[in-house]
Symmetry: C2
Subunit: 685 residues, 2 copies
């Protein structure tokens, strides 16, 4: 336990080395013919252009926040805020770059070698993101632990600042990337189908490149930053509670009555679990690769289901020797299995009976399709939140509020492998787009289609998992906020957060509207940006001679679309981003910690349900459309009225599942992390 920081940093380092090896391996693979290479270059350049432009905006934001933190909490806090942000950016940058190499190479592997090698290529590309996210997160937390483990006064502030850095990047990357990806997707779709009547991924459509760029900046870079944030925030919440909870609550964690030692163990435990989880994930990634000849759907489901068993087994073996009680292992297991359960429930709602119901509702028109999809989304909140209540109740039974934080860490212990599978999805999606655009044969397209379809399921599972872990993390952060306020107010002046206090209740109502604001603004942002893209695509078809006819040698100008999507996404992300960061600050300083606590609770209740409705409803519509396209409704194939109705649902679901839903989930995380950081400053308001 004394050398835990070395083990954490070492494990993180191993993860990075493995990531770099995969990176090199992917990059050295053949990228196919010239057309493929050119399309892939467009996508890569567009993705990188978005990221670098976004980084400039974020740099301005970071400088301002650094200044504010340096003044209010000291320059070191500002520096750790920057560290949290920069590590997130580095993980996102390397991970996305690898994905933009892997996409075309996956298509080429499908062409030259077959399904198994294409699967491995997409997984290798995804594992760079997975390993960087977990590796850099663990290194950051390990260094913080190393430097401040004997200085509890500063450890709290520094980990909070580190988490705010991670949250800030996640917020803007997720919302900006989410707006980009769906504006490009919806814009290219509408321009292609409604305006010009050409098929999806047609090479004449200049919006198709931007659509593929969107997969990278939204589903890869945005998702990476999001999970990195959850990973860090869960550890920070548990550590913060370890630092501040009273002895009687920590007593259940380990076999000692020495409060100092109890705190030390409680602060170390999340880091220890994350270290174990990363070790297992690295091994898991290699096992998954070795299974490449099994059906892709089986391989990827196994990759998501096995980690809870392995992590629980390893923890059961390791924890008692450090003096932790059985409750620690049980809590960890509750989180790990709870996360898998939420993922599987999401899988059910987005791929099984419910999508058949949505598809059948398309037979009576788009209206009934949309109603049914929304109903599926609403229904899909029930079991996941009940599972999370169960996880919370079990964890709380054994280890109190600290247990809930630990369950969140347990849920996220397999982050490296979950993120690998998550990133696999957009790589496979891109590979399909590249095959289509560069005119590869039907067999290649069949392979990439299968890989892509599996990716849709894993994406849904990943989103359920992300929201589930976010809910537990937010509860833990909320408890940490309360303890931090109490610490600042001193013994005898603890905060009374009576639920029937009018201040708390007004806070709950105010908090309830915040997810609605983010939902509304991101949805209209997608609509506006997509509209601008449609206009530009139409202009190109009208003004570039020969484009509409597909004349040999005539090419569209994808860069113009990429530029429009980039600037629109960055402009549109500012308002919802500002709401997330400023709402807790304004409420905290103006109305005080009681109202702020109510605000967090109201935002949690609405945010948890609304983001699940949107993520799962969106997934159900998407897959209902695909179900019809694959002949699920005999007599109603692609192009039929039922299919057209299903396309409407899919269009509604696009911003739901990839922009607003994830945006709302990140909102509640950011609000909690920011509240925790400013807790000492607003404690006596």
């Amino acid at each position: 336990m004394e050398s835990l920081h070395l083990q954490s940093i070492g494990t993180g380092g191993v993860a990075l080395v493995v990531a770099l090896i995969f990176y090199a391996k992917v990059k050295s693979a053949p990228e196919g013919n010239e057309a493929m290479a050119r399309i892939a270059r467009y996508i890569r350049e567009g993705s990188m252009a978005f990221l670098t432009t976004e980084y400039k905006v974020l740099a301005a934001y970071a400088v301002v926040v650094f200044g504010l933190l340096a003044v209010s909490l000291g320059p070191l806090a500002g520096a750790w805020f920057l560290a949290g942000a920069v590590l997130s950016l580095v993980a996102g940058f390397i991970g996305m770059k690898a994905a933009t190499f892997a996409n075309v190479r996956t298509a080429e592997a499908a062409r030259a070698k077959g399904k198994a090698d294409a699967l491995v290529m997409a997984l290798d590309g995804g594992s760079v993101m997975g390993l960087c996210v977990a590796g850099l997160g663990l290194i950051g937390m390990g260094v913080l632990y190393m430097l401040y483990r004997n200085d509890h006064e500063h450890l709290g502030t520094m980990i909070h600042a580190f988490a705010v850095g991670a949250s800030s990047i996640a917020l803007f990357a997720r919302i900006g990337g989410g707006i980009y990806t769906k504006a490009a997707d919806v814009g290219a779709d509408i321009a292609g189908k409604v305006v010009e009547n050409i098929p999806e991924d047609d090479p004449r459509n200049p919006g198709v490149i931007a659509d593929n760029v969107g997969d990278n900046v939204g589903d890869t870079a945005g998702m990476g930053a999001d999970i990195y944030e959850s990973y860090v925030a869960a550890m920070v919440a548990a550590m913060a509670l370890g630092l501040t909870l009273p002895q009687e609550q920590l007593q259940r964690v380990a076999d000692t009555t020495d409060l100092e030692r109890l705190r030390m163990l409680s602060v170390a435990l999340p880091l220890l679990l994350a270290t174990i989880g990363l070790m297992i994930s690295i091994v898991g990634i290699f096992i998954t690769r070795a299974l490449k000849n099994m059906p892709p759907a089986t391989v990827l489901r196994l990759a998501l289901i096995l980690p809870p068993f392995l992590v629980t087994g390893a923890a059961a073996a390791a924890l008692p020797s450090f003096g932790f009680k059985l409750g620690a292992t049980i809590t960890l297991a509750a989180g790990a299995f709870g996360g898998a359960a939420v993922g599987l429930i999401t899988d059910y709602y987005t791929s099984m009976k419910p999508i058949r119901a949505v598809a059948e509702a398309s037979l009576t028109g788009a209206g009934t399709n949309v109603i049914r999809g929304l109903a599926v989304g609403l229904e899909s909140t029930v079991l996941p939140l009940i599972v999370l209540c169960g996880v919370g109740a079990v964890s709380n039974h054994y280890l109190g509020l600290y247990g809930i934080a630990l369950a969140a860490v347990g849920m996220l212990a397999g982050t490296a492998i979950v993120m690998t599978v998550d990133t696999y999805g957009p790589i496979a999606d891109n590979a399909g787009g590249i095959s289509e655009m560069s005119g590869l044969g039907k067999e290649v397209r069949e392979i990439t289609d299968e890989l892509d379809a599996v990716g849709n399921t894993t994406a849904a599972v990943g989103k359920g998992f992300a929201i589930g872990s976010a809910v537990l993390t937010v509860i833990a952060l909320f408890a940490a906020f309360n303890m931090e306020v109490n610490r600042a107010r001193g013994v005898g002046h603890e905060l009374v957060l009576q639920l029937t206090d009018s201040n708390v209740l007004m806070g709950v109502l105010f908090g309830a509207v915040l997810p609605c604001i983010v939902g509304a603004s991101t949805m209209t942002a997608v609509g506006r940006a997509a509209g601008a893209i449609v206009v530009e695509i139409k202009r190109q078809f009208d003004e570039i001679p020969g484009l509409r006819e597909g004349k040999e040698g005539v090419e569209p100008q994808p860069k113009a679309i990429v530029d429009i999507a980039t600037s629109a996404a960055l402009r549109e992300m500012l308002f919802p981003g500002a709401v997330a960061v400023l709402a807790p600050v304004v409420v905290g300083f103006v109305a005080g910690p009681t109202v702020l606590a109510g605000t967090l609770a109201g935002a949690l209740a609405v945010g948890a349900t609304l983001s699940l409705v949107m993520a799962n409803g969106g997934g159900a519509w998407d897959n209902a459309k695909k179900f019809i396209e694959k002949g699920g409704l005999p007599g109603h194939k692609k192009g039929s009225d039922a299919h057209k109705a299903a396309v409407v649902g899919d269009t509604v679901g696009d911003p739901f599942k990839d922009t607003s839903g994830p945006g709302i989930a990140i909102l509640i995380k950011v609000m909690s992390v920011v509240s925790l950081l400013i807790a000492p400053l607003v404690a006596n308001r």
Copy 2:
């Protein structure tokens, strides 16, 4: 103050007498030609058939609950539960019967006399419901006050039981009626437009009668029961708090330090305000009638905006003489004006700039129309809830939690006139349908169309107002629940509802899913029932010779559709109804009052936002479609692609605004009322 019960009962009696005069006046007016009379009879018989069948289901429910209450809280509590239920049924029965006389007579007045007389006829028909709801509610509360005002021990239990009776009827009437009205509407629409390609309200379509029945059972009887419940529950919450709050909190209500007198005054005040409000409303109804030559939109907006001024003025004059402090008047005013503000904000979101945006989004297809409408719905939650936070903060500042309950009473003081205007809407809607079906001329149809369009706006305002008052009432009931639990637990054992308590937080998460369950189940219920209606309509067109061709003398069989809609609505209402009633009972008895309190808070946060999203989003879609039909988008008239896209949004909005949204609002009220009633039984779990 000593004779307050007499004044309340007397004012209620006057309201009933006025209602009966209007009833007789409406019934004695000419009902037009034979075709009109026949159609009106179909509608009336269908409406009454639904109500009587529903009453049988409710009777079974009432017997069971009566038995449970008689055993657990005594036979008198059971009797007052029945009284609360029966008064609601009587108000709904008389009010709806008047509406089904007024609809055809409004059409006839429009034909024979013109707009002003048609407006008055629809208003007179509506005022029967408005006056019965408020009159019977006030009489019931007045009698309770008369019998138990000096027996505080029993007063609490009896008013809680009375409120549960009112709530139960509201729950089933609102959900059952909501499913009926939208199943018939959507079913008739789909069968007419998609399957048979005939215009709306075409006399050949057998579903049109059921659609018009739906307006009566959903928007008239369902809405009446809903508002009756709010009216009663707001008074009950204030009285319950007056009975249980500690002296230091009641101290601010009146100028006395005698706790007994303070309680007496606090219990009496809500009844006094409701009495003043009803007096003013009766006068207001006559003033509104006198303005009949002004534009209908102006008349009805005035009817909604004037009561807050009059009620506040009257209260400011009367309250000080009874020893109430200024805070009582301010709190009342905050509620009354807050309610009007919420109504006007709803009006904005469902009739002004936002609907133009939804209409314009239809230009790029149904998908963007739906996205935009959802965004409008989400955005429309923000200002109303912030206004309610403001009302809560002001009320709490002056009178504490009791003040919040009083604000709810103030918001509902004008119930009689608001309900009159609300019921005007479906009467005007029916009048339009009858004009169309019986082939009255274009000028008549123009008048009924204008009256109907105004009715859409007032319906939206009424819904906003209903949800706003529900939110305040729920907060007050929640506080009353807490005080009641504390009273049962005894001094020194008060409930600690610390927001960071894991039990409370798990309750919040569990409560958050309940509105989702009700939303999902009511939406799918509408879809299922509508599907059955489509099948039957298609059967009639296929099997009745000459119907499709509109052959002279060939008639559809509307009764078959009415029967299908009736049995489907009654069957489908059971599950969501059971969730609302049983969820607090199960949570309370199994998990205890702490988890139950969290559940109520979680349901409030999600329920308040989701019901506003649905009600306002639905209104925006409906009016965006009408905006296009009236030529709001030059070049895109009825039948264009843009109009078709708007019809999709309208179809989605139908169950949103008239089934699920109101169903969710009633869910949170029922849960709170039931929790308050069972508080003593679960206090020590």
